[in-house]
C-alpha cells in the first residue's frame, strides 16, 4: 500500500513536471512533412542540439557542457598544410549569400554562409544583422597561427569555445566546404579585404 503510494507519487513527479524531449520530437514528426530535398530526418537531434534546447531559465549542467565543449574541440580538423587563407573575394560572396539547405533553395547551388545576417563585416555594408558581434576590422586582432587556428575552429564548430552559441557549425555540419571556409577566413584576415579597410 505504502509502496503503491510512493510509486504513484514518483510517477506524478515524472510525468507532470515537464514536457520531455522525446515528446517534442514525436509532435514535430507528426506535424511536419518532407518537402523537396528536406526530410523529417532533420528533426532528430544530436547530443549537442539536445543539450542546447533548454530554455535559458533552466540552469545548465556545467559538467556536461565541458564534455560537449571538449568533444567539439577534438573534432576540428586542422588543415594539414596549415593553409587557412583562401580568396577574400570569394569569401565575401559566401558571407553575403543567405541561400542553402532551405527546402525552397536549389540543392545544386553551393550553400552560403549568410554571415551578414548576424554580423557586421565590411563597414560600408549597411544591411548587416546584430545577433552576433561586429567583425569589422577583424584582421587587426592579429594574424598569428594561434589566431588563425582559433578562428578556423570557431567557424568549424563554434561550440568548441562557446557552448550553445547561436551560430551554425559551418564545418562540422557540412554547411560550407573547407575551401569556402578558407575563403571566408581570407575575407576576415586579408589586409586587402573590405572587412579591414578604414572605418568610413
Amino acid at each position: 500500500m505504502m509502496m503503491k503510494t510512493i510509486m504513484q507519487f514518483l510517477a506524478f513527479i515524472i510525468f507532470s513536471s515537464a514536457v520531455c524531449a522525446d515528446e517534442v520530437y514525436d509532435v514535430l514528426l507528426d506535424s511536419m512533412t518532407d518537402k523537396n530535398f528536406v526530410t523529417v530526418e532533420r528533426l532528430k537531434q544530436d547530443e549537442l542540439q539536445a543539450f542546447c534546447s533548454q530554455p535559458r531559465s533552466v540552469s545548465a549542467d556545467e559538467a556536461r557542457a565541458a564534455e560537449l565543449r571538449a568533444a567539439a574541440l577534438s573534432d576540428v580538423p586542422i588543415p594539414s598544410d596549415q593553409n587557412y587563407l583562401g580568396d577574400w573575394q570569394r569569401g565575401e560572396k559566401v558571407a553575403s549569400n543567405g541561400r542553402g539547405l532551405q527546402y525552397s533553395d536549389d540543392p545544386e547551388q553551393e550553400n552560403g554562409g549568410n554571415c551578414y545576417a548576424c554580423h557586421q563585416l565590411d563597414p560600408a555594408e549597411v544591411a548587416y544583422g546584430n545577433l552576433g558581434p561586429s567583425l569589422s576590422g577583424y584582421g587587426a586582432r592579429g594574424q598569428s597561427i594561434a589566431m588563425l587556428q582559433y578562428t578556423w575552429t570557431k567557424l568549424w564548430n563554434t561550440h568548441a569555445y562557446n557552448i550553445c552559441s547561436h551560430m551554425p557549425r559551418f564545418g562540422a555540419a557540412g554547411i560550407l566546404t573547407e575551401q569556402q571556409l578558407r575563403d571566408v577566413m581570407a575575407f576576415l584576415f586579408d589586409p586587402q579585404s573590405p572587412v579591414n579597410r578604414t572605418q568610413p
Binding site: V27, S31, M32, V38, Q45, P55, Y103, A127, G129
Partner: protein, 268 residues
C-alpha cells in the same frame, strides 16, 4: 465599382512600388504605410472571407455558418482573440486554421486532403480561401483583448509544449525559434526581430497577424508565419493546423495576452 477591379489596381500599384524597392529597407515600407494611412489592401481579402464564410460549399453544399469557433455556432465576433483554445468536441486545442479544417470536413464534407492541398498562397498567387477566411475572422476581433484559453489542462499543456518547441534546436544549422527571437533589440540584416519570450515582443507580433504582406501582395496568416519560420530554420514543411503549429501559436498568444488585436496588419 467592381471589387476585383479595385483590387487589381491595388496589386498593380503595389507591384510598381515594390519594383522601386531595390533596397529592402524598413524606411521605404514605413513611407508606404504612411501613404496608405488607415487603409489596408487586406480590406478586399476580408470582404472575400466574409463571402466565403456564408457561401454554400463542399460536397454537402453548406456554408460555414454553423461552425463553432469557440463562442458557439456561427459566432465570429471576438472568437479569434480567444484562440487557440480547447474544443471538447475534438478533445484538443485548436487554432483558427485547425478549427476551420474541422468545420470544412465535418460541415461541408471536404476531405482533409482537399483542405490541405493548398492552404497558403505561393508567391504570385492572389490568395487562398483559407487566407481570406482567417483575415475576416481575425478582423472580427480587431481591437479586442488577446485572451487565449488557459483554464483547461490541455490548454496549459499546449503552452508548455509550445515553449519546448520554441527552444528545440535541430537541422543542419542548429536553429530553433529562440535563435532569432529570445533577445531584445536584434535584427537579421535590417529586419527587426521581436523577442517572443517577452510580453511586449509577443504582443507586437501576435496582434499583427494575419497581415497583408506588401512585398508579396497577399494576406499571410499566423500559421503561414510559423511554417515559413520553420523553412528558414532549414526544417521540413510545417503542416497547417498541426499540433506543433497550434502549440507555437499558443505560446505566442499566451505571452502576448492582454494586448489588443490589431490584425490584419500591414507588413513589409
Amino acid at each position: 465599382m467592381n471589387k476585383g477591379f479595385v483590387r487589381g489596381i491595388f496589386t498593380v500599384l503595389i507591384g510598381l512600388w515594390s519594383v522601386t524597392l531595390l533596397s529592402d529597407t524598413e524606411g521605404v515600407f514605413d513611407q508606404y504605410r504612411e501613404m496608405l494611412g488607415d487603409d489596408n489592401p487586406a480590406i478586399f481579402v476580408i470582404f472575400d472571407g466574409e463571402e466565403i464564410w456564408y457561401a454554400p460549399a463542399g460536397p454537402k453544399s453548406v456554408s460555414l455558418e454553423q461552425c463553432d469557433l469557440g463562442l458557439g455556432p456561427g459566432v465570429v465576433e471576438g472568437a479569434y482573440a480567444q484562440l487557440p483554445r480547447y474544443f471538447p468536441d475534438v478533445d484538443r486545442v485548436q487554432d483558427v486554421e485547425a478549427r476551420l479544417e474541422y468545420c470544412m470536413t465535418q460541415l461541408q464534407g471536404l476531405t482533409p486532403a482537399e483542405v490541405h492541398e493548398k492552404p497558403y498562397s505561393l508567391r504570385g498567387d492572389l490568395g487562398t480561401e483559407l487566407e481570406a477566411l482567417v483575415a475576416w475572422i481575425a478582423d472580427q476581433s480587431s481591437g479586442l483583448v488577446i485572451a487565449p484559453g488557459q483554464a483547461h489542462a490541455k490548454e496549459r499543456a499546449t503552452y508548455a509544449l509550445g515553449e519546448n518547441l520554441f527552444y528545440y534546436r535541430a537541422g543542419p544549422h542548429d536553429f530553433s525559434c529562440a535563435t532569432c527571437h529570445e533577445q531584445t533589440g536584434r535584427r537579421i540584416r535590417l529586419q527587426a526581430l521581436p523577442n517572443l519570450t517577452t510580453h511586449p515582443g509577443a504582443a507586437e507580433a501576435y496582434s499583427s497577424w494575419p497581415a497583408y504582406r506588401i512585398s508579396q501582395g497577399i494576406v499571410r496568416t499566423m500559421g503561414w508565419r510559423m511554417r515559413d519560420c520553420m523553412r528558414q530554420q532549414r526544417m521540413p514543411e510545417l503542416i497547417m493546423g498541426s499540433q506543433a503549429s497550434v502549440a507555437l501559436q499558443t505560446y505566442l498568444a499566451v505571452n502576448g495576452a492582454g494586448a489588443s488585436m490589431a490584425a490584419p496588419g500591414l507588413k513589409r
